[in-house]
């Protein structure tokens, strides 16, 4: 009996062990979307194109506004692929939109004021006869977003701004924009409503079907059909948000872009029913908008790159082959508490989740395969633990990463590589604490303001406080944290004469001087107005954010120096935001591909402050100063603030004495370091 019980228990254990044993990480191999070969060329003579269409032979029909002296002239231009160009002047007040070519005629829409109000009018232009004529007036909509031809019908996506209803919004970002999908039969002149609600966009597929993107109670969806209301196929739910541009590559594949969706912040993305991908060649496109046409292996779109010499030209990209991955999920990014910095998506779909500290620790330690990347910054207490406990996927072998790291400042390289030589994180942003000062104004305090000591600087702040209209920004709490961090970089404990001096200085000179160490009233007024020119009145301010540097760099006479610290010739403390790859991620291949693209993209970015030879540092004296400060930076991975900061403020407020603080803080730090 006992023997049988033991056998029974043994079988039970074996069963349970097998079922609940460590599961391996079955990663998927991913084939991601990429263009095999890309050639982009502009079409000569087409500028400021507002709308265009392309026929099967590659001939472009574009609507433009051209200048004839002081007069704006609405023009239709036909440019074929031999480079030959013919332009026709239209007798129109507004620029022709929704250009569509069909059977030797060019159809377009223009707004006109009629008896019933402003309406969109469909017109036809015949190049052979050089004549334009009105075909139809759309009574149901006052604006037309899109028009394409299928068979002998025009499909029109119209909207009436008066019908926009934000109250119908759902949690996924949808709101009723009042869109309506119409069909206009070019032979009979009959107008028919295909869909009068929930339709957001559409595109005609190469096979001659109608792909729509809409929203219902189930969320955003795609559906493809013959164009008749009752002939749409099964709805494919896919949340792309409120997309702005849609171009069907096949009955179940598409190219899209969306400004309102965080999924792609640049260029465009590709997708398919149940699939997702990215488009390589549109990486440097700010945004794909307006008309997009796919003809065979060529994609036509308008060049909207700010720096492009031919902004507004129609570009043509040749795509040899487009592959889509069998992937149905986004890259999942987790952070310990919400971080304002989010990395560029590079056209990938990204989902970010903010977790509490405890949940984050649990997620990492349990090797949860449910996240792909974690984003942290060096001020968070986990940051160094991720490195020290090996909770990362080494990025040394990932294409572009080593090159990127080696191009960064030495302090970034030092932070990104652990003692074993592994690149454990990809730095995406730095905030380096600097003191921005107005050279002319600060000369009144000291001839060599850039070399000012801490005591002198505190005195300067107090003097500035006495001036009613002085604009400066030095936060007491933030400055105190910097000073304490600076101290802890040199010393392991607070029990020292140096610290006692520093603590007394902070208590008496920073917190003792009422309201001196905060944004002055004048500074607050400048920030509230948002007038960038007003920043020229700022005397000095602690600045770390790159976006603030951008503002100050446009102001004459502003310089940068390191923040006056306790230690002479101290290194500037840098907060680094970085990405770590989860080694147990289900989407490891896709995630590593994203990391590779991000690294290459950041390497090519001239305004990337992490790069020691970034072009931005050559732009001005201001950025040259910043480079000098950056070259003496250090990424400091923080202790918990709780270890000493709360007690320090208790000392500042007089609730405990300095000796009590020192004893308590040193005890906690010793426990933290040695437990």
């Amino acid at each position: 009996m006992e023997r049988k019980s033991r056998i029974g228990l043994g079988i039970l254990f074996a069963f349970v062990f097998t079922v609940t044993g460590c599961a391996g990480n079955a990663g998927k191999d991913v084939v991601y979307g990429q263009a095999e070969e890309v050639i982009m060329q502009g079409v000569e003579g087409l500028e400021n194109v507002m709308s265009f269409d392309v026929d099967e032979d590659g001939c472009i029909y574009a609507g433009m506004t051209t200048q004839n002296g002081d007069v704006c002239v609405q023009t239709l231009c036909i440019a074929d692929d031999t480079g030959s160009r013919t332009c026709y002047t239209l007798d129109e007040v507004s620029t022709p939109r929704n250009i569509t070519f069909y059977e030797e005629n060019i159809y377009y829409t223009v707004p006109e004021w009629l008896e019933t109000g402003e309406r969109q009018v469909l017109k036809r232009f015949c190049p052979e006869r050089g004549m334009q004529e009105t075909i139809h007036v759309f009574e149901q909509c006052s604006d037309i977003k899109k028009m394409e031809v299928m068979g002998n019908s025009l499909y029109i996506l119209g909207t009436d701004p008066a019908d926009i209803d934000f109250s119908t919004g759902s949690g996924d970002g949808y709101y009723d924009s009042g869109e309506i999908l119409l069909r206009f039969d070019l032979q009979t002149g009959a107008e028919e409503t295909v869909m009068d609600q929930d339709v957001l966009n559409f595109s005609i597929t190469p096979a001659g079907n109608l792909m729509i993107y809409g929203h219902d109670e189930g969320g955003f969806y795609f559906s493809t059909g013959s164009g008749q209301k009752e002939n749409f196929g099964e709805k494919q739910y896919q949340n792309l948000g409120m997309i702005d541009t849609l171009c069907a590559c096949a009955d179940d594949q598409y190219i899209y872009s969306s400004l309102s969706n965080h999924r792609n912040s640049t260029g465009a993305s590709m997708g398919g029913y149940g699939k997702e991908g990215i488009i390589d060649f549109l990486e440097d496109m700010e945004f794909l908008y307006g008309d997009v046409r796919l003809r065979g292996d060529r994609l036509y779109f308008v060049d909207n790159r700010t720096d492009s010499e031919k902004k507004g030209t129609v570009l043509c990209a040749y795509i040899e082959r487009i592959l889509l991955s069998d992937l149905n999920r986004a890259i999942r990014l987790v952070s310990a508490e919400w971080l304002a910095e989010t990395p560029d998506s590079q056209g990938f779909s990204m989902e970010q989740t903010a977790l509490s500290y405890d949940s984050f620790a649990l997620t990492v330690l349990s090797q949860d395969a449910g996240y792909d990347l974690c984003i942290l910054n060096s001020r968070q207490e986990f940051a160094a633990s991720i490195r020290d406990k090996g909770a990362f996927y080494p990025l040394n072998e990932i294409d572009g990463v080593t090159e990127y790291i080696e191009s960064c400042f030495p302090f970034v390289q030092q932070a990104a590589v652990n003692e074993n030589g592994d690149i454990w994180m990809l730095p995406v942003d730095i905030k380096i604490n600097t003191l921005v000062y107005n050279e002319n104004q600060c000369k009144l305090f000291s001839e060599d303001f850039a070399e000012i000591s801490l005591e002198e600087f505190l005195y300067v702040v107090q003097k500035a406080r006495a001036q009613e209209d002085a604009a400066y920004g030095i936060g007491a709490a933030y400055y105190t944290e910097l000073l304490l961090s600076d101290y802890l970089m040199q010393y392991e404990k607070f029990d020292s004469e140096e610290f006692r001096g520093l603590a007394k200085l902070i208590k008496e000179e920073i917190f003792g001087c009422e309201n001196a160490f905060s944004d002055s009233n004048a500074m607050n007024r400048i920030k509230m107005t948002g007038n960038e020119k007003a920043y020229g009145n700022v005397m000095f301010s602690i600045v770390a954010d790159p976006s603030e540097h951008e503002v100050y760099s446009n102001v004459d006479g502003m310089r940068i120096m390191r923040v006056p610290m306790f230690t002479e010739d101290a290194e500037s403390i840098v907060t680094c935001t970085f990405l770590c790859v989860n080694p147990s991620s289900e989407n490891l291949n896709l995630t590593l591909e994203y990391i590779s693209r991000l690294a290459k993209s950041m390497l090519a970015e001239e305004e990337n402050l992490l790069l020691s030879d970034a072009g931005i540092y050559e732009e001005s004296v201001y950025y040259a100063d910043l480079k000098k400060v950056c070259s003496k930076g250090v990424v400091r991975f923080s202790y918990e603030n709780e270890l000493f900061l709360t007690d320090f403020y208790a000392y500042i407020e007089g609730r405990i004495s300095l000796e009590e603080f020192i004893a308590e803080a040193d005890r906690k730090i010793a426990a933290y370091l040695n437990e």
């Binding site: 039970l12 062990f17 330690l365 090996g390 005890r667 906690k668 437990e675």
Partner: protein, 267 residues
């Protein structure tokens, strides 16, 4: 032969009935424990290099682990006997005392239902300025006496009244009656209360954390839970696992020791 078959059939039925409970115990207790044991013997979850007892040596040699262990054991040494004696006294009063006292039954149970956060706040105000571990001990005793009172009172109620009558007839009364008859009869309940209190003493982290408001309380209050929690937050799963395993050995040693004492006492 027939009898043996019958016995086997009965045993099989018993096993079948026990199976769900065993499965649950295996899945939610045994398997996680084995996994923790495994984690305590590898370098980290990511590279999983087997290191044997290196972590154990490191943790046992760590000053703070030893401090935490000593503090936890001191808590048991001081709080458990005090709590049991107090609970015993209260239970005796409730079971054999006047009606007025028995009406106060609810008051002794109340500490169990008051939210810990409220208690911690009151305690901080009551004992502010006292630099000692006594507030924590008092909090623990105050909060956990109620459950022991319930258990012991229930145990008293199971004693046959005729035994007391016989003892009275024989001339026993008062303290002698309770020491010779009452307490020995409820010894299993006392033993169970002792075990429960010991286990609860290892769970006092919430109260301590709320009372001290920090992950690094004064050294005299730094217990094993703090050590484990802080290592968890530092993502040091190995030290956490080792501390958990060692704690389980300590508890097991105490329980086994207690069972042996109880067995000897019964004999």
């Amino acid at each position: 032969m027939k009898g043996r078959k019958k016995q086997m059939g009965w045993n099989a039925k018993c096993m079948l009935c026990l199976l769900p409970s065993l499965a649950g115990t295996a899945v939610f207790y045994v398997m996680p424990y084995l996994r923790v044991l495994y984690y305590s013997m590898i370098s980290d979850q990511f590279s999983r290099r087997f290191v044997g007892f290196d972590h154990y040596i490191e943790v046992l040699g760590n000053t703070y682990f030893r401090l935490a262990l000593i503090n936890s054991l001191l808590m048991i040494l001081f709080c458990v006997p005090t709590l049991i004696l107090l609970a015993l006294g209260i239970s005796l009063m409730l079971s054999f005392g006047s009606r007025g006292i028995t009406r106060m039954k609810t008051a002794f149970v109340l500490p169990m239902v008051i939210p810990t956060a409220c208690i911690a706040l009151i305690w901080r105000n009551l004992f502010s300025g006292i630099e000692s571990v006594m507030p924590l001990y008092l909090l623990f005793i105050w909060k956990n006496t109620g459950i022991c009172v319930i258990l012991l009172t229930a145990a008293f109620s199971t004693i046959d009244k005729s035994i007391f009558e016989a003892a009275w007839i024989e001339g026993a009364s008062g303290i002698k009656l309770h020491c010779s008859i009452t307490i020995p009869m409820i010894l299993p309940a006392i033993f169970f209360s002792v075990l429960l209190t010991i286990v609860n003493s290892f769970k006092v982290f919430k109260e301590a954390y709320l009372y001290y408001g920090t992950n690094y309380p004064p050294d005299y209050s730094y217990t094993l839970q703090y050590y484990m929690n802080n290592n968890f937050l530092k993502l040091d799963y190995q030290k956490l696992s080792v501390a958990a395993v060692l704690t389980s050995f300590v508890v097991l040693w105490i329980v086994v020791g207690g069972l042996r004492v109880q067995r000897r006492f019964r004999q």
